[in-house]
């Protein structure tokens, strides 16, 4: 950049650039990344990913030892099923931790996404630019999914690839075939998580200009859902099914949990497996939350006033 005298100068260049929603998304992701809560949670996730990776490595090695085989002696395909079970367990542990982190992120940071703008009257500054209300809503709605994509998707896929790499040379192909549903399960988890949590945070955040209130509301929905689900576990019929859908963390984890429980044949696992939320119900809840949150923020942005 050349050194020049500071002061007001006319602008003779072109106007344009990326779409407004992308600019809003970038600015908000940067702001969230810079928060202390986000830094701490990212480090926690990283540590968790490393620990789960080590566990997976140890489990695969242990299975080989228990089978009394050295990697070179094992018969082709003999250890694929145990490796698959180990991977599914590792994914379940990692994504349970990731979902806890995402829940905390939604409560600590996500709840302020729109509430802080309302408190600072930032909408007055934003909406007098050549942007549409839908740009603002979309930019805000994608912040949490964007963070999820980089923080939660990558480690799960890396674990899957590592597990494949740690197979005996002849077993790799069989392992890929046995675990071919894993990327899909991770993708489903991400979609449900992105939709549900982004929708929830937008919904509570656009309803108040006080971040504390928004955080409390988000926490009430997340933890209250756990309690209601607990009640729903012991009720039969459609009431029980509906109650079991109220826990957002369990809904989003279902695609990751169910393949692991399917490998376990004890009574308790089967009982819990039967009571996991219905995937289409979980998708409707996540999609509904996203739509409601998006519309709430869009309406807020559309009705901005230039003066009090």
């Amino acid at each position: 950049m050349t050194v020049h005298a500071r002061g007001y100068r006319p602008y003779a260049g072109l106007f344009g650039g990326p779409p407004a929603w992308w600019v809003i998304l970038q600015a908000n992701v940067e702001a969230v990344r810079a928060t202390k809560a986000m830094r701490v949670l990212t480090v926690l996730l990283l540590i968790m990913a490393c620990c789960v990776g080590l566990l997976l490595y140890a489990q695969i090695g242990l299975d080989e030892k228990l089978a009394g085989l050295s990697p070179k002696q094992a018969a082709p395909g003999a250890l694929v099923e145990s490796s698959r079970t180990a991977l599914l367990l590792a994914l379940r542990i990692y994504y349970t931790a990731a979902t806890t982190v995402v829940s905390l992120l939604a409560i600590l940071t996500g709840a302020g996404l729109v509430a802080d703008d309302l408190r600072a009257r930032a909408l007055t500054l934003l909406m007098v630019r050549p942007i549409r209300a839908v740009d603002y809503a979309l930019g805000k709605a994608l912040v949490l999914p964007w963070i999820l994509l980089t923080r939660a998707a990558a480690p799960g896929l890396v674990l899957w690839l590592l597990a494949g790499a740690w197979q005996q040379p002849g077993d790799t192909q069989a392992f890929w075939e046995a675990t071919q549903n894993v990327p899909g399960a991770i993708g489903t988890y991400l979609l449900l998580c992105a939709g549900g949590y982004a929708g929830l945070t937008l919904l509570v955040s656009a309803g108040t200009s006080r971040r504390g209130v928004a955080s409390a509301l988000a926490a009430a929905v997340i933890f209250g859902g756990f309690v209601l689900r607990g009640i729903g576990l012991f009720r039969d019929g459609s009431a029980g099914e509906l109650l079991r859908l109220t826990s957002l963390p369990t809904n989003v984890l279902a695609p990751i949990i169910s393949p692991h429980w399917e490998t376990m044949h004890d009574k308790r696992s089967q009982w819990l497996l039967d009571r996991l939320p219905d995937p289409s119900g979980a998708a409707i809840i996540a999609g509904g939350l996203f739509l409601l949150g998006f519309l709430r923020v869009w309406k807020r942005a559309r009705s901005v006033e230039v003066s009090e």
Binding site: R6, F15, V23, D116, P130, S307
Partner: protein, 315 residues
């Protein structure tokens, strides 16, 4: 520059906020005046293309703000009255962010953010979080964000609100500079009439949602028999002699021991033509020196009330 034709806007079952408003705002600095509820904010919202469901036309520098609101907003910078900032951002990042939303490329937005913050006097505070700014600094920040995308028209809503006298003077100087040195058109919504009188070239008056008229400052008429007088080397004899010559003096504040004092001098309106000679003669006779002597012109407040009373009501 800004043309409004037949603009009517209602909110629900309430009386219309604007009723068939037709006006043209010429180039330069224009004051937008009116009591609370006059429709100033509604008019600004229409100009910014933020309101729907109104009838009539609004044209900003030739762009139809109703059909092409985003194109109109690109030409306009807006400084709101209420405190407003971007959370969790430094001054320069916030202004650059708003500049990017105004259509500037990333690097240019950052460069211009530095420039405009420097221009408004926040050069030393560009890397501080806006939340930590004082009231005066936040007013300057709001002006900077209105300027970052180099708009041709700047809308200011009570720009001196919350500022101390020195801050007000600096803000008025910045506004005057924008129009004079950078060719910006400024529409300034305010209740502080003396400030508008000092800086605006014309005023547009709204009342109860209706357009009441436009007045050019150069048309402010001298008030017969009234003069503004500043004198140095004053002695008690000056006031006695002035009284004897038929001039009534009223001190315009200030310290009585000050070497230079200001008065409003009043003579019979029929003697206006000879008043200057009388005052200079009085000063010469008592050893005082006249440093300023000019007729007092009608103030904006009386014009404002006259325009409001034109239809039989007062604010």
């Amino acid at each position: 520059m800004l043309a409004v034709r037949g603009l009517t806007k209602s909110y629900g079952g309430r009386p219309p906020a604007l009723r068939d408003v037709t006006l043209e705002v010429p180039e330069g600095v224009t004051g937008l005046l009116g009591p609370n509820g006059a429709g100033k904010s509604t008019l600004l919202q229409c100009v910014l293309g933020l309101l729907r469901g109104f009838s009539g036309e609004v044209e900003v520098l030739g762009v139809d703000a109703r059909r092409r609101p985003r194109d109109a907003r690109r030409l306009v910078g807006f400084m709101p009255e209420a405190d407003a900032w971007i959370p969790s951002m430094t001054g320069v990042r916030a202004v650059a962010y708003l500049g990017r939303l105004g259509g500037l490329p990333r690097n240019e937005a950052l460069r211009r953010a530095h420039d405009v913050l420097h221009h408004v006097g926040l050069g030393e505070a560009v890397y501080r979080d806006v939340v930590g700014y004082s009231t005066g600094m936040r007013q300057r920040f709001k002006l900077a964000q209105a300027l970052v995308h180099d708009p041709a028209l700047i809308l200011l809503d009570e720009p001196t609100s919350g500022l101390d006298p020195a801050g007000r003077d600096e803000m008025l100087a910045l506004i005057a500079n924008l129009a004079k040195d950078h060719g910006k058109h400024v529409v300034w919504s305010s209740h502080v009439l003396p400030e508008v009188q000092r800086s605006a070239q014309q005023v547009v008056v709204l009342h109860q949602g209706q357009y009441r008229g436009t007045f050019r400052m150069e048309d402010l008429a001298p008030r017969p028999g009234l003069f503004l007088l500043e004198v140095e080397g004053l002695s008690p004899a000056f006031e006695v002699e002035a009284e004897r010559r038929g001039v009534r003096l009223a001190a315009r504040g200030g310290d009585e021991d000050s070497p230079r004092r200001a008065f409003t001098a009043q003579v019979e309106p029929s003697r206006s033509a000879e008043a200057a000679g009388v005052l200079l003669g009085t000063a010469a006779a008592t050893g005082a020196r006249v440093r300023r002597l000019e007729p007092v012109v009608e103030d904006l407040e009386s014009v404002f009330h006259r325009l409001l009373e034109a239809r039989g009501d007062r604010p």
